[in-house]
């Protein structure tokens, strides 16, 4: 390896430190107008009348749009086409967009928003999953499966009740994970313009330009050939820019109608309303174990608070259970889930998409199991780690697993064996593990086409341009693209020009989500680069009088022993021999073995693994938790650029710790005299607390390399998986420090104090959910695990999912 594995400046590094990276709001076009959205002040209401005459007449206003201008719905998933760009009659959360004003500047547009008068008729607010279960009416959406229950899912992979009977101990625990938001420092922005050919261009801070392109064609009823979506570099995404956004549709329509460029930039308050963040999830885990510390079976129930729209929610709900089997051997598994609609900003995917919540519960419960069995938590985990290249109970195919080495690394480096359960009162260590996807196995809409494509252009000067639809959101996707092409062609990554995230210029890549880019784009890049390399090798071999397969490509040269030429010379010879040089490569994940309905969520070409030890200090007088140090080891398969890989791991640690200790998206009811509406407690950066540089502990990061054959040079993901173990490791460390269990996030000082008080009174030293409501889960789909016969299909006749729900 000449490029991979060596610490390097990222290829887009210079632009980022000079202020030259052009984010969406940095785009300024001649004659550009500005748009602002008017948002519903009510959490749940019907629109009876809109009067926008005064706004239209306001000097400087060019256009006012309302729901009647947008008859077509959209949604990121084919099963959830439930949003209008502007709500025509029914608003479902405070912040639901209802009108737009386009004016000569932002200030004028903002002033005109106040001139739009809308008569609303308030509906009962559904504020929580309990209220959603108790109130089938008023329906937030007519298409939900049962009352205000958006989706119900139930699967049984082997008879878990039977497994519990054969277990020595069965643990039952409830956990709650509060919702939180992505908080990218860049607020969403978009610019739409009509080009000289009359076609629409949309620049947007989106992680998914391809999906935005499809949605624009649908909503604006335009030919996809007339639309170009350019994903500008995202100023942080974390999943917050993976949904189709109202403002993208509306600003595009405005530009089409006016024939002038229009920009919209959300303010921070609006970003809190747009949300699509971590779902609040209530969980009930029942897990059976044998005395020697083997897991016999698990029954997981989740209740997911979806907010006002579908979004990714159906997938998020699957993810609250799909990956529970990917870390430890679990012979039998039952999973039941329900997502409800509530009158709050819609939830969606945030770093880890649906999996951090159950991981929090699972890893705390394992800590409890270890204690009860008198086993060391690390030993318990090592004993149960899944075997590489195996199938799970729910039919996921898992490849390389470097988790044992990860656990050994963090145990050794934290001096775990000498310190766990042995530290002075108030100080403790906690351990937890995690696993994550390296890209979702299936695309969001059903198709058999590649998930990623890369096109290469090489010319006689030796310059290489790589085109790919992948989106740079800070994670370093351009750098991965350049590095992989450079490694195959033996050139410097800085000699590769990347053109990315542009639906008019680049082959389709589905976007920066589910940690898919390194694996999928990387494999497509290898495919394309190998084709070019073959041509260049053949041409160079003739000149050098060696056989092509003996040639090496490295350091800008093509050579065999002492015979060599520069890459540019070789490229010139190849252009002479074959004509203009270019190649395309593509990648589609392998077909997953699961055949049952619902098997589409969870499969991935590979899984990354992480182990984490957190040290915590708890002040018994204040409940304040301080984390002085975190050790983390991540199985990355192979490191492409260690500088960026470490940044992804440490960024995950930061975000995980911030979620563990303080981040929460909470709401409150206004007093009755002020409408009684449910509003955000904190739609501002002043009140939404996140860790600062002063709060950030020292992080000891280890990259474990267990290459996976499905991945480019063996490289797995690093952007999401390392977040997963952090939250439960914090909770486990607090237990080690002061002997109290905080089974809900965030772990704020008041909860710690409450638990300490209970402990001092001799009550169960725990703070967390006390009961799990009755959820009308349907009869499960019965799918025998691989070791109990079956072929990945559900047992015929067991598919009563819909029948029961209806």
């Amino acid at each position: 390896m000449k490029v991979l594995g060596k610490p390097r400046r990222r290829v887009d590094g210079r632009a980022k430190v000079t202020g030259q990276t052009r984010f969406a709001d940095d785009i300024v076009l001649p004659r550009m107008l500005h748009m602002r959205l008017l948002r519903s002040p009510h959490p749940h209401a019907l629109i009876e009348n809109i009067n926008d005459e005064k706004a239209k007449a306001y000097p400087g206003v060019h256009l006012v749009l309302t729901g009647k201008d947008f008859p077509v719905t959209f949604g990121i998933l084919p099963v959830s086409q439930d949003e209008y760009p502007l709500a025509p009659e029914h608003v479902r959360y405070v912040g639901d967009p209802v009108a737009a004003v386009v004016a000569k500047d932002e200030q004028t547009a903002t002033e005109a928003l106040d001139l739009i008068s809308i008569k609303y008729r308030s509906l009962k607010t559904i504020s929580s999953p309990e209220e959603a279960l108790a109130n089938p009416e008023p329906r937030i959406h007519a298409y939900s499966e049962l009352g205000n229950i958006h989706r119900l899912q139930a699967f049984e992979f082997g008879d878990v009740e039977d497994a519990f009977k054969r277990s020595d101990l069965v643990f039952e625990d409830l956990f709650f994970y509060e919702g939180n938001t992505h908080l990218p420092i860049e607020q969403h922005a978009a610019v739409a313009a009509v080009d000289g050919e009359g076609k629409l261009t949309l620049w947007s801070s989106t992680q998914v330009p391809h999906y935005v392109h499809r949605a624009l064609a649908r909503v604006l009823q335009l030919s996809p050939a007339g639309i170009r979506v350019i994903a500008t570099p995202n100023g942080g995404g974390f999943g917050g820019k993976t949904d189709i956004c109202n403002h993208e549709m509306v600003v595009a329509k405005a530009a089409m109608l006016l024939g002038r460029p229009v920009k919209v930039c959300l303010n921070r308050e609006e970003v809190f309303y747009l949300h699509r963040g971590r779902h609040p999830v209530l969980m009930k885990f029942r897990t059976g174990v044998t005395k020697d510390g083997r897991l016999a079976g698990m029954h997981l129930q989740t209740l997911v608070d979806g907010g006002g729209y579908g979004g990714y929610g159906a997938a998020s709900t699957f993810y609250t259970g799909a990956l529970q089997t990917t870390t430890y051997e679990l012979p039998r598994y039952k999973f039941e889930a329900a997502r409800v609609f509530t009158n709050k900003p819609p939830c969606g995917p945030k770093r880890g998409h649906g999996t951090p919540q159950p991981r929090f519960g699972q890893e705390i419960q394992l800590d409890r199991i270890a204690e009860q069995l008198g086993m060391d938590p690390a030993e318990l985990r090592l004993k149960n780690i899944l075997k590489p290249n195996s199938l799970t109970a729910n039919w996921l195919k898992v490849g390389s697993i470097g988790l044992a080495e990860c656990i050994r690394q963090v145990v050794e480096r934290s001096d775990w064996n000498n310190r766990f359960r042995k530290m002075p009162a108030g100080r403790g260590l906690g351990l937890a593990c995690g696993a994550y996807l390296c890209g979702a196995g299936l695309p969001i809409y059903w198709n058999k086409m590649p998930q990623s494509g890369v096109q290469l252009l090489v010319d006689r000067s030796g310059q290489v341009t790589a085109f790919c639809g992948a989106t740079e959101i800070g994670q370093g996707s351009d750098d991965v693209l350049a590095a992989i092409v450079a490694e195959v062609l033996g050139i410097d990554p800085f000699d590769v020009r990347c053109v990315t995230g542009d639906t008019g210029m680049t082959p389709v890549d589905l976007g920066s989500y589910s940690s898919r880019v390194t694996v999928m784009m990387g494999n497509a890049a290898i495919d394309a680069a190998n084709k070019i390399r073959l041509q260049i090798a053949e041409a160079a071999a003739e000149q050098l009088e060696v056989s092509p397969e003996r040639l090496s490509f490295a350091n800008g040269k093509v050579f065999f022993e002492s015979k060599e030429m520069t890459f540019a010379q070789a490229a010139g010879l190849a252009e002479e021999k074959f004509g203009t040089l270019g190649a395309v490569g593509s990648y589609k994940p392998p077909r997953a073995p699961g055949r049952y309905k619902g098997a589409g969520v969870g499969p991935s070409p590979a899984y990354s693994y992480t182990a984490c030890v957190v040290e915590a200090e708890v002040d018994p007088a204040t409940g304040w938790v301080t984390v002085p140090k975190i050790w983390i080891a991540h199985d990355i398969g192979r490191t492409i650029n260690p500088v960026l890989a470490r940044g992804q791991v440490e960024g995950s640690v930061y975000m995980g710790l911030s979620e563990a200790l303080m981040e929460e998206q909470v709401f409150r009811r206004l007093p009755p005299k002020l409408s009684g509406a449910l509003v955000h407690k904190i739609p501002s950066l002043l009140e939404y607390k996140s860790l600062t540089s002063l709060d950030m502990p020292e992080v000891d990061t280890v990259l474990v390399e267990d290459p996976d054959p499905n991945c480019p040079f063996g490289a797995k993901e690093a952007g999401q998986g390392p977040l997963l173990p952090v939250m439960p490791a914090v909770a486990n460390a607090i237990y080690d420090a002061v002997g109290v269990r905080i089974d809900e996030l965030p772990i704020t000082p008041d909860k710690v104090l409450r638990a300490l008080e209970k402990k001092s009174k001799g009550e169960p030293a725990r703070v967390g959910p006390e009961h799990f409501p009755a959820v009308p889960y349907p009869e499960p789909l019965v799918v025998p695990p691989p070791w109990e016969g079956g072929d990945g299909n559900a047992v015929p006749g067991a598919q009563r999912l819909k029948a029961k729900a209806a």
């Binding site: 400046r9 990222r10 887009d12 590094g13 210079r14 632009a15 980022k16 430190v17 000079t18 202020g19 030259q20 990276t21 052009r22 984010f23 709001d25 940095d26 300024v28 200030q107 992505h182 908080l183 990218p184 420092i185 860049e186 607020q187 570099p233 995202n234 100023g235 942080g236 995404g237 974390f238 303010n267 921070r268 959101i473 800070g474 994670q475 370093g476 500088v643 960026l644 470490r646 940044g647 440490e650 960024g651 995950s652 640690v653 930061y654 975000m655 501002s684 950066l685 002043l686 996140s690 600062t692 540089s693 002063l694 950030m696 020292e698 992080v699």
Partner: protein, 162 residues
């Protein structure tokens, strides 16, 4: 019609004039009237630090400063940090060591760090943490930012020793 105000100031060492609506912040004037979009916005409240610039050498949140207050003052932004084509040691260290991921908070942190190193050429890790505690970064977890500022301080002291 609103009347614009007009001011003269020094921006990145060069004399500049700007004409703008009187309610505009320095952040808005930099981005919208002086075409210096390197300075970012993230919260409108002075909480995130993305808009930090140097005003008469002091790090300030430009979203909380009215532009009219900057008449006659000197404003430094990320665009003025490099010397010609040569990156400032802070910029080079940030690029080399992974201190810029998405790059959105980076200009504000670079300017804050520049002010720190001018006052304290060899700051401790604790001083660095304090100095940038008003700049939120959601990507890096801060470690690589601390390391880049330390590395820049080393490179700068090596240069001045030469």
């Amino acid at each position: 019609m609103r009347r614009n105000v007009q001011i003269e100031l020094t921006v990145n060492g060069e004399a500049a004039e700007a004409s703008f609506a009187p309610y505009k912040t320095m952040l808005e004037v930099l981005r919208e009237d002086l075409a210096l979009t390197g300075t970012k916005h993230g919260c409108e409240l002075g909480e995130c630090g993305a808009c930090a610039v140097l005003i008469d050498g002091e790090p300030k949140l430009s979203c909380l400063v009215l532009a009219v207050e900057c008449a006659g003052k000197s404003v430094d932004t990320v665009e003025g940090l490099a010397s010609g084509a040569e990156l400032h040691p802070l910029q080079a260290a940030f690029a080399d060591l992974g201190a810029a991921q998405c790059g959105y908070c980076t200009p504000g942190i670079l300017m804050t760090a520049k002010a720190l190193l001018e006052k304290e050429p060899q700051p401790s890790r604790e001083r660095i943490k304090e100095a940038i505690s008003g700049n939120l970064c959601r990507c890096t977890g801060y470690q690589q930012i601390f390391e880049a500022i330390e590395e820049a301080a080393r490179r700068m002291s090596d240069e001045s020793a030469r």
